[in-house]
């Protein structure tokens, strides 16, 4: 195990946490990792991004329809938010909450605007996590710090 790598990985994680990109939930996921499933976190995040793309599409569509069905929109976003929360994507979650408030107020403008934020945070986190996992792999450890395949 490369100490530098590990250290850098830990630092990166610390930074992500401090900046609010990730929260305790992410740490929980890492703690779940074990020898049997050393890449659990990375796999889960991959699953998340694969699925969330679809969910974002749904929201996009709902936003595009006229008139906007705010109930459906709210449901779609709820799904997305729930998924994001499960991996600890805090910033994304915040934007989702804001979005849902606009939905409740039937504020289309607010929804559209906030949705852009949601997508932005979503993409930004994806990049950061990719870097994180890459670092972990390079260091010979999994995201959770478990020795695993590189």
């Amino acid at each position: 195990m490369d100490k530098n790598h590990l250290q850098r990985q830990l630092e990166m994680k610390r930074s992500l946490l401090d900046q609010g990109y990730l929260d305790e939930q992410f740490i929980q996921l890492e703690e779940l990792e074990d020898g049997d499933n050393p890449n659990f976190v990375e796999e889960t995040v991959t699953t998340f991004y694969a699925n969330s793309a679809r969910l974002l599409q749904n929201i996009e569509q709902a936003l595009g329809s006229r008139p906007i069905d705010f109930t459906a929109l709210d449901n779609c976003m709820h799904q997305f938010k729930s998924s994001s929360t499960s991996i600890g994507a805090t910033r994304v979650k915040k934007e989702c909450t804001l979005f849902m408030e606009y939905c409740e107020a039937a504020n289309a403008e607010g929804c559209i605007r906030t949705f852009r934020q949601v997508k932005q945070e979503h993409a930004s986190l994806k990049t950061k996590l990719e870097n994180y996992f890459k670092l972990a792999r390079q260091g010979g450890t999994s995201a959770g710090g478990h020795a695993g395949r590189s």
Binding site: Q25, Q28, L29, L32, D34, N37, F40, E43, T44, T47, F48, N51, S52, N75, H78, Q79, K81, S82, S83, T85, S86, I87, G88
Partner: protein, 692 residues
């Protein structure tokens, strides 16, 4: 962890409840707890799975509610607990919750990112045993086993409470079965028993221990007096001692009243609150949700239990069932009709409870009006499976079925009378807790089964004038035939799971019955059959049941009223009472007879009880046995005549088959000669006594 279960797959339960039997070594508990996770979000699903595995549970994940339901249905005892998301695209989580509650009566935990009070409240009202806010932490999952234990404990407690003397040893079973959960659990169970909700529980315990006490015949009059006393005191304050004083019946002991009260409470509980696990008023003989189907199953179970006890030869049982059900029993040879009856019973009551609407419902929906005594085949299909030779019974069934309600009432009554043995019904946690056990007895002895069966088997016929009449009696309950019909289609499982588990909160009181039934090979097909037959109905039923269920809980009074017909102006209620009285009477009288028949019947009841008890614990095995035993060839004819007598409103009572036939058949099986009639002593009831 659990080898037998594999990965939480539908390992067919080795006929034991969940991890109890053999699935997991008691010491390991809660390791090996079989969890079914349902969530449409794949991310959440894998995370939950990982967390649950980390807790050493056996996890099966599912991303569609429909798939989850079929998984559960295919393997009734394959899971201990279900965790489900609230928001799912194919089915609302609450709907799934209701389904599970009704059909399988498993504890269900809801989860959602939504933590709004309304949503959480919804979870509570729909019967979820817990609600987790996402993101779910592993700590929250570590303790979910408590819900499983709690549920089982409650079930056992109910069984225990409603157990009769003969059940003394049966009651041991739960204890043994609870071993898995270690002595602590047993201690809990015992302590829970001690901590009765009402003092009567203790009394009930006493009753149980005094085995061989002469049974009291709860005639219609007596029961009405009882109900009057209870109402006067207020169901919450009604203690046996005071009830006894109010009733002022010489020769009646406090124990008699206590045990009767126990059953009554269970009955009420069933009527009003499927979702409640505890034995309270709500439990009643008839679970609101009891659908037609389940009722049948109950009956079937009862018979089986009885059969198992050996008192009633399987043959006899089968005959009885067949007879009762009429031809419907054909399908599985399992006394489904009985079960159906039970369901009927349960369903019917709720309906009646819910009021006039129901009544009208009854009249309008199908010709089934109980009062009309025209046998409307409620659920021929349901009974179809039970078809057995007994044509006569079939007739009875038909009649009974049509009246659905009637059967139910009969069953209920039977359950009541049986109460001791019937605990199965109650304890099993099935919605119709009392029904099953009691039904078993009465049915057998009184041929009430026939009535019940009739319920199931409407199709057969016309002959059953007698049945109709019986139905009439039950109709008093004024079960809406419509209701039954709907029920029939589906709810086999619901009603049928007597004793398996309390339907309680899940709203699936039937589950108990169903699960038990399902466990037995015989039942499963029935259930499936029913489902197939009434796919839509089941849906309706479920919805209905749910509705009923909830209504029930909200209206405690109606429930009571139902039970106590005489007390209420509500005709429906009144009917029920009357019928029940009759049934009760019959049940008792037969027992008292002491004749071979009676003994047999009692035995049967006991068997049922034990059988049902077993089911509560996931006794698939027992159920299997019961089912096997129940397959009787001899047609037994229920003496509907008696019923008809009691039913003041029935002109139909002309039952050709009469209980005598049933009894005879039964007796013959058992080696008794002579018509069953004398033993059943329906005469005792005589119409005169029944103040309709």
């Amino acid at each position: 962890m659990n080898p037998s279960n594999g990965k939480g797959s539908m390992s067919t339960a080795s006929s034991s409840a969940a991890w109890k039997a053999g699935d997991v070594v008691p010491d390991q508990f809660p390791a090996g707890l079989r969890v079914l996770v349902v969530d449409d979000d794949p991310t959440c699903l894998v995370i939950l799975e990982k967390m649950l595995r980390a807790c050493l549970y056996e996890v099966t994940k599912c991303n569609r509610a429909e798939i989850a339901l079929s998984l559960l249905r295919e393997n009734k005892n394959g899971f201990d607990i279900v965790i489900s998301d609230v928001h799912m695209p194919d089915m609302d989580g609450f709907k799934l919750l209701e389904h599970i509650g009704l059909e399988m009566d498993l504890p269900v935990i809801m989860m959602s990112a939504d933590d709004g009070k309304n949503v959480v409240m919804k979870g509570v009202t729909h019967g979820a045993c817990d609600y987790l806010i996402k993101p779910v932490r592993i700590e929250a999952l570590r303790n979910i086993w408590q819900h499983v234990v709690r549920k089982r404990k409650n079930e056992w407690r109910e069984l225990e409470q409603s157990g009769s003397v003969e059940e003394g040893d049966r009651q041991q079973k739960p204890c043994d079965d609870l071993d898995y959960s270690s002595s602590a659990n047993e201690g809990n169970w015992k302590s829970s028993k001690k901590r009765k909700d009402e003092e009567e529980e203790t009394e009930e315990r006493d009753d149980s221990s005094t085995l061989k006490k002469p049974r009291v015949v709860w005639s219609v009059e007596l029961h009405q007096q009882f109900v009057a006393a209870v109402n006067q005191l207020g169901i919450d304050k009604a203690v046996p001692k005071k009830i006894l004083e109010l009733m002022n019946v010489p020769g009646l002991t406090r124990e008699n009243v206590a045990s009767h009260l126990q059953k009554y409470r269970l009955y009420l509980r069933r009527l009003s609150g499927v979702s409640q696990h505890h034995s309270s008023l709500n439990n009643s003989f008839m679970s609101p949700e009891a659908t037609f189907g389940p009722m049948s199953s109950l009956n079937g179970l009862d018979l089986q239990t009885l059969a198992v006890t050996g008192q009633l030869p399987a043959q006899s049982l089968a005959n009885l069932q067949a007879a009762g059900l009429g031809r419907s029993a054909a399908k599985s040879g399992i006394p489904m009709p009985l079960i159906d009856q039970r369901n009927l019973f349960s369903f019917e009551n709720p309906k009646s409870r819910f009021g006039e609407g129901q009544q009208q419902h009854l009249s309008s929906s199908k010709p089934m009006n109980l009062l009309h005594g025209i046998p409307t085949t409620m659920e021929p299909k349901q009974l179809a499976s039970l078809h057995q030779s007994a044509q006569s019974l079939g007739n009875m069934n038909v009649q009974v079925n049509s009246h659905g309600a009637q059967s139910s009432s009969l069953l209920m009554q039977m359950a009541k009378t049986q109460s001791r043995g019937n605990i199965l019904n109650e304890s099993a946690g099935s919605h119709l807790p009392t029904l099953p056990s009691s039904i078993g007895q009465p049915i057998i002895s009184n041929g009430i089964a026939g009535g019940v069966i009739g319920r199931n088997e409407i199709g057969d016929n016309g002959r059953g004038t007698g049945y109709n009449q019986v139905a009439q009696t039950s109709s008093m309950l004024s079960f809406p035939m419509n209701h039954t019909t709907e029920l029939a289609g589906n709810n086999f499982p619901i009603g049928s799971t007597p004793g398996i588990s309390n339907v309680t909160s899940k709203g699936a009181f039937h589950e108990e019955v169903n699960s038990e039934i399902k466990s037995s090979a015989g039942f499963v097909p029935s259930y499936d059959i029913f489902n197939d037959l009434h796919p839509q109905k089941s849906q309706d039923w479920e919805l209905q049941n749910v509705g009923l269920h909830f209504n029930a809980s909200q209206n405690a009074n109606p429930v009571q009223g139902n039970f106590n017909a005489s007390q209420n102006a509500n005709p429906v209620q009144g009917n029920l009472d009357v019928s029940s009285s009759v049934l009760v009477h019959q049940g008792y009288s037969s027992r008292q007879q002491g004749s071979g028949q009676n003994r047999n019947i009692s035995a049967m009841g006991r068997t049922m009880f034990s059988g049902l008890e077993a089911t509560g614990q996931g006794n698939e095995q027992i159920m299997d046995q019961l089912l096997n035993n129940l397959i009787v060839d001899t047609p037994v004819r229920v003496k509907y005549e008696r019923f008809s007598d009691t039913s003041s409103q029935n002109a139909l009572f002309a039952d050709p088959f009469g209980q005598e036939d049933l009894m005879s058949a039964l007796l013959k099986q058992q080696g008794n000669t002579g018509p069953a009639e004398p033993d059943f002593d329906f005469d005792g009831y005589s119409i005169d006594n029944i103040p309709v």
